[in-house]
């Protein structure tokens, strides 16, 4: 009784006096972050002991930078409102019902996209936008790299600038690719697809997104702190002698790794516990398997990434010697830690990408998914094997030559489950009625690009061939074929496919097709050229090249400019379609999965009445029509 009478008195969203929770947004986050950084930096400068004279370990600058960045991190997360919930718990309370609704972004219009909003659809859109921003930054950096290599001698950029550009391109693209499927579609689409009202842990969902945002300023600050000369792999001891920009990189990785772990736990829990009544594992869409495999794979490996960077940071800031041979450490330890994350990470990117394609294939061929079981076996097989292949990056490191054989075996075995996914896709296209749309085109393009990427991977997995090709730009071309040719192309297909559900509008077909063809043609020109010079012996990550490689590099640079054109058309297409596009019907592709059973805009808790599932989402074909 008392609670009922008291409720109108509590400060709801409509109350005249604004509660603290309503004042917090990205603006307070930025403000508090900057204040935190400056304050922490000032305290560090004042109280840290000075470098002893003559000491060659100049650690004080690194300590200051780290402390300032931790100040930024704490300030930003406080300012954005991440600590309100935990603080309430500390007081033995929790958020009130109204506050929870406010957190979910109820009735806030556009403002909810700039707050610590827990609604999975808001988080999905936020991820979509930040993914595009990250890809734009990475793309600009790619253009700088290719322009520098467009003519003999290079040196359009200073070598230290070039190395920083290469490193930042690598890390931004990897981060962008990791979140490009599980971020936007895993958050927006997945809960609706499984018939849930939200994620299992909505606040963790908001946390994972704002952690990504918090990681951006430290990473970009490295540009002004001397840069990162190491590439994204940040090998020691090169990392150890790098300027303070490296500290920004380390901090950004640590924050991003936490974000990935949080998102991984959340998405896994959601898919396991929140599926609608009747959605047995046999009736769960394959996209869910892909997303869960991806984030569940990230769960064990990203802590290793986090750890490797913490140890590097300690070496830099405190003079510890985890990776310093002179103090009993080993650079090989770093290489192992890095690649224990680094190789599963490419499957973290690829599995959900291919799963999105497998989700779309039945819709656009109007027949059931071919061999659902094989698809699951493929996904499980890749996930399982991927944690056992890391040392193929160390074949020529001299670390443990006896392990080359076993790692060659595991690496090549992974082609078997990958082949299963190929069969599922091709089998679904086979004898279907192919509805020619952009997502369909993405399926074909991925099959083409991924065949090339996969086969070149077999060369690299062979120890003898790797002795000739490791560290050459052939490797760069290979993983661009897999991560960009297959991964990013899938993501673009998925974007077009789910665009109507996320924005309420159809993706402009003409612009989409134009962008698709320009990008695919440019992509194959660019990276075929790169394969050639790689086979001929051009190393990776070089800013200056012998005249011998001019022709191949000119081709690649030309291809890169074509990709740029295509990507800008795509960006234009996204903006134009989002704002002025044709209004979409509820189910424009006539698909059978649950996300198409709700109208746009999807209401706050998705379903008025939770659905009950009686069959899987692939019931296409004669019997059903």
């Amino acid at each position: 009784m008392t609670t009922v009478t008291n409720r109108p008195a509590s400060a709801g969203p409509s109350a005249p006096k604004k509660a603290l929770i309503e004042r917090l947004s990205i603006i307070t986050g930025l403000l508090l972050g900057i204040v935190g950084a400056v304050l922490a930096w000032y305290l560090a400068r004042t109280f840290l002991p000075v470098n002893t004279d003559g000491s060659y370990i100049k650690t004080r600058m690194d300590q200051e930078v780290f402390i300032a960045m931790i100040g930024w991190f704490v300030g930003f997360m406080t300012g954005i409102g991440a600590l309100i919930g935990p603080f309430r718990w500390l007081l033995g309370k929790d958020l009130t019902h109204d506050e929870t609704l406010f957190y979910a972004g109820k009735d806030q219009g556009v403002k909810r996209y700039f707050r610590y909003t827990t609604d999975h659809k808001v988080v999905g859109i936020q991820y979509l936008v930040i993914t595009m921003v990250i890809f734009f930054v990475g793309g600009v950096l790619a253009m700088l790299i290719r322009t520098n290599l467009g003519h003999a001698g290079g040196n359009w950029l200073q070598p230290q600038t070039y190395n920083t550009v290469v490193g930042l391109h690598g890390i931004t693209m990897v981060v962008g690719a990791i979140i490009m499927i599980t971020g936007p579609f895993g958050n927006f689409i997945m809960p609706i697809m499984i018939g849930a009202r939200d994620m299992a842990f909505p606040r963790l969902n908001a946390l994972s997104f704002w952690l990504v945002v918090a990681a951006v300023p430290p990473l970009l600050s490295s540009i002004w702190l001397g840069g990162i000369p190491t590439g994204w792999s940040a090998y020691n001891p090169l990392e150890n002698q790098a300027p303070p920009g490296m500290d920004g990189f380390i901090m950004a990785i640590c924050i991003f790794a936490i974000s990935t772990m949080v998102a991984g736990a959340n998405i896994t829990a959601t898919a396991v516990k929140m599926r609608a009544k009747g959605m047995t594992w046999n009736r769960t869409p394959i996209f869910i398997y892909g997303v869960v495999a991806s984030v569940a794979l990230a769960l064990p490996v990203f802590p290793v990434f986090f750890l490797s960077q913490v140890l590097s940071g300690l070496d830099r800031a405190t003079g510890s010697t985890f990776f310093d041979v002179r103090g009993g450490g080993s650079p090989w330890l770093y290489e192992n830690l890095f690649w224990i994350m680094g190789h599963p990470e490419v499957y973290v990117i690829l599995i959900p990408a291919l799963a999105a394609l497998m989700e779309m294939a039945p819709v656009f061929t109007r027949r059931p998914l071919f061999s659902f079981n094989l698809a699951i076996m493929g996904i499980a097989g890749i996930s399982g094997l991927s944690v056992l292949v890391w040392a193929h990056h160390l074949y020529v490191s001299g670390w443990a030559p006896l392990l080359n054989g076993p790692f060659m075996l595991t690496t090549e075995l992974i082609s078997i489950p990958t082949g299963m996914l190929f069969l599922v896709l091709i089998g679904t296209l086979w004898r279907g009625r192919v509805w020619i749309t952009l997502p369909t085109a993405a399926i074909y393009a991925v099959l083409f690009n991924f065949t090339i990427g996969g086969i070149t991977g077999i060369y690299l997995s062979d120890v003898s061939a790797d002795a000739a090709l490791h560290g050459s730009i052939f490797v760069t071309a290979h993983f661009h074929y897999t991560l960009m040719g297959a991964g990013l192309t899938s993501a673009i297909g998925a974007l077009v496919y789910w665009f109507p559900k996320m924005t309420g509008r159809m993706f402009d077909k003409k612009l989409g097709w134009t962008a698709f063809w320009i990008t695919q043609v440019g992509f194959n020109i660019a990276f075929m050229g790169m394969f050639m010079v790689g086979l001929a012996g051009q190393p990776r990550r070089v800013g200056a090249i012998s005249a011998f490689y001019d022709k191949g590099n000119s081709i690649t640079t030309m291809g890169a400019y074509i990709i740029m054109t295509g990507m800008l058309v795509l960006l234009h297409g996204v903006v134009v379609s989002w704002v002025w596009g044709t209004k979409a019907t509820q189910n424009p592709w006539f698909a059978k999965s649950l996300e198409w059973s709700v109208a746009y805009p999807v209401p706050l808790e998705n379903f008025d009445v939770l659905p009950v599932v009686t069959e899987d989402a692939y019931g296409y074909g004669k019997a059903q029509s």
Partner: protein, 255 residues
């Protein structure tokens, strides 16, 4: 379901789409295998050691083994495009079947890909073992290689410890490189000999080969090592034994 199908339909290879796919498969396999192997061996240049000859051969064989796979993917996908295409905003009518699986196809696919994979692994292992054995049994010249940002230098330990920034090797004589670094990681890579090993600070790693052709080749650093990584390269001179002896003596060593 599959029993029902076999009674109703002609054998799968008599279906027109299967015929088309098989035809395209043969064509694509030939084209892909031929062009890819030609382009690859052109790009990899002429080898200067047995290691590299073996590697080039292996790449060629892998390409020919992979060509049917790539050809099959291409043939099947293109066949699907040649079939029932549908354009427009509304979906096509449902497909004429609702086949959800074909254990036979799946099993064949998995078995064949496993065999291909095992072939690659076994072939690769045999080759690695062969290289390794050759390296250990021969009586090689030892050369200490030191990488230091961003210059290589060499110590001809079997020739009185002469030191030089130039790498000269006698032809047809096995050579064993003991590679280390004074600072960060580098990677010692002689392009035309197909050998590579990282130079790690604090450790000595080894690689070896037998150069079999007089000429000038390329040594490059293959591990990002900072500012002038791009410039950390050198010519490798493979010369006759007499020329080598003369050169070493000129460097203050003994032949």
């Amino acid at each position: 379901m599959s029993e029902l199908e076999t009674t109703q339909r002609p054998s799968w290879w008599k279906r027109s789409d299967a015929k088309k796919a098989i035809f395209l498969w043969v064509i694509f396999t030939a084209i892909i295998g031929y062009t890819a192997s030609i382009i690859q061996s052109r790009a990899m240049g002429s080898p200067a050691s047995e290691n590299m000859s073996n590697t080039i051969n292996m790449v060629k064989i892998f390409t020919w083994a992979a060509a049917p796979v790539a050809g099959l993917v291409a043939a099947l996908t293109i066949t699907t495009l040649l079939g029932q295409r549908h354009f427009g905003d509304n979906p096509p009518p449902e497909a004429e079947h609702e086949i959800r699986n074909s254990p036979r196809v799946a099993a064949t696919w998995v078995v064949v890909s496993t065999l291909l994979c095992l072939f690659a692994v076994i072939y690769g292992m045999v080759l690695v073992q062969a290289d390794e054995n050759k390296l250990r049994t021969a009586n090689p010249i030892n050369i200490d290689v030191t990488g230091q940002q961003w210059v290589w230098n060499f110590k001809y330990v079997d020739n009185g410890g002469a030191q030089s920034a130039d790498l000269y090797l006698p032809v047809n004589k096995p050579v064993l490189f003991h590679v280390t670094s004074t600072d960060v990681m580098h990677s010692f890579w002689i392009v035309q000999m197909g050998i590579k090993v990282d130079a790690n600070p604090g450790y000595v790693t080894e690689t070896g080969t037998t150069p079999n052709k007089i000429g000038v080749y390329d040594l490059r650093c293959a591990e990002l090592c900072g500012l002038y990584h791009a410039y950390m390269q050198k010519k490798v001179h493979v010369v006759s034994q007499a020329d080598y002896d003369a050169w070493v003596q000129n460097q203050g060593g003994n032949a």
